[in-house]
Each structure stands twice: as structure tokens, then as C-alpha cells.
Point group: C2
Chain length 136, copies 2
Amino acid sequence: MDAQVELFQALGDATRLRLVNLLTQTGEICVCELVDALELPQYNVSRHLQILLKAGWLEDRKVGKWVYYRVARDLKPYHRSLLRAVDQLREEREDFRRDEQRASRRLKLRRGGVCCVGLVSISEGGHTAQRPGTAG
Amino acid sequence: MDAQVELFQALGDATRLRLVNLLTQTGEICVCELVDALELPQYNVSRHLQILLKAGWLEDRKVGKWVYYRVARDLKPYHRSLLRAVDQLREEREDFRRDEQRASRRLKLRRGGVCCVGLVSISEGGHTAQRPGTAG
DNA sequence: CGTTTATATGCATAATAGCGCATGTGAGCT
DNA sequence: AGCTCACATGCGCTATTATGCATATAAACG
């Protein structure tokens, strides 16, 4: 599809807006951390990450069994403007702020700068607690 | 739906991006002029205008049988950032430029600052030539 | 090699979006 | 009143999208 239209379309979804916001606020962050922060099922987060990736919004970096995502670095002016818009949304979006809080708590638990290391149990059931049926 | 998500979603469509671009570039402009500029069927343009209107992007003003649209005036910072992004897209979008050219030709034909007055035939078949079957 | 962990994806389904056609609405003109 | 013009909208269709479930992939670890 039209690459620029795809760019806007990728932001036309609440979950993806939350992801983009979180990624711009926290920098590089891995999928399991995003799952915990957004409190959404892993497959759901993964799907939306793929959409953002394909649209050109994100970069991924694989480290062992983890995948870290971050906002892409080679951005054009219109990308920047769009990211600024997302940032300016923050004031009005409680969900953004809650995501950021949960993410910040989660990121403090990183050991040696690596996600998930030494994590046995965040909530009961471990940090994959957001699998449907386990949480909620 | 979530008002801010709707805002982004409204821009996630080529036709609506073209409309927003044209409206930011030309100011107030009526539906028949937009139809000529975009070379799309009237019902199509009308539909997308309603979507943009509902999303909070546009204002309309009815004058006789015409309806003029313009970009809304009470905009928040994130609206402005988004509009800036659309503007920055212009460089890469031939379609935007073509729309603007056709619009500019069309707008020169206004009489007394009013659209459509004294217009008998722009292209053969009159200025409603974009009805399917008449054009293309 | 089998198992666990982290992530991605095929599939079915439900919801949504865009399009074309036809028609409705409402203003102005005769 | 009847007609035309400018614009909006209901309907049916098709295409796309989001979601949930299950499973695939692939790395790490015993």
C-alpha cells in the first residue's frame, strides 16, 4: 500500500498509539516488557508491533530469545511531526501515563541491562501472566 | 470511538489526506470544487468529508445550495503537529501537487468570490463531469 | 534431545471500511 | 408547484482489519 498512508494508518489504533508512545518514552524495550506494560495478550502486542514495523515506525533487534523494539532512527520530517503529535497527546491520555508507570516499574527489574533476566515472578504466575486465562 | 484515535484514523486514507492537504493549502473551498480537484465521484468526496468533519478536522459553512469546507480553527497542539506532517508530505506526493494545480485552475473561475457561479462547462459535460459514466 | 521460554503467525470469525449505485434532502429558479 | 442543482446518505457488496485460539519457530537450558 501507499507507504505514507500506511504510516498514518498505523497510528490509527489505540494499542499502536500506546506502543509508539511507550517506545518513544522509554527507548529500547523488549516484547515481554511491552506485554506487561500494556496488559494485553502477547500475540496481540506482537501483531501490532509487526504492523508498526512494516509501516516503518520501528526497528527490532534480536538478542537471544528476546526481541527489543525501538522507534526507527532514520526518520523524515513528517515522521518527527507525527511523533510530536503523539507526544502532545500524552497530556490527555491516562492510558499512556499508566503504560509508562507500569513500564517504568518493570524496567527497574532489569538485571545487567537485559530484560527478563532473573525474573521469576512479577505478578503471580510469572511475567507472562498476561496470557489469557492466567490474567484478567 | 476514542476521539484522538479517530483523529489519526481519519488521516489514514489517501483520499482524506488529499482533502486535508487541499483544504490547508487553499482555505475555504466548496464540495464541487473538491470534486473537480480530486477527480473523484461526488458521493465519494462527500463521504470522506463527513468522516473528516466528524473526526473534528473540518468546519462546514452552508451558503445557498453550496457547502464550503475548511480546516477547523480551534485546534490543539497535536492537531497542528499532524497538519504539519501532512504539509511535509507534500514534497513527496505528486497527487497532492496535481490536486493543488487543478484546484487553483478551478478557483480562478470563481465569480464574486462565490464558487460555481457562471460555470457552464469546465470540462465537457459541465463541472459535475466527474459523475461515473460521464468521466473516466 | 526434550523442555521451557520468548516471540511470531496461520486460521477462523467478527467487526469495520470503502465503493458504486441509487435515492433523499433542501435550496434556488422558473 | 415542478424542476434543477449541490450535496448527503441508505443499501448491498467486497475488502480489510482486529481478535482469540492454537500452534510454529527458535533460542536457551537441563
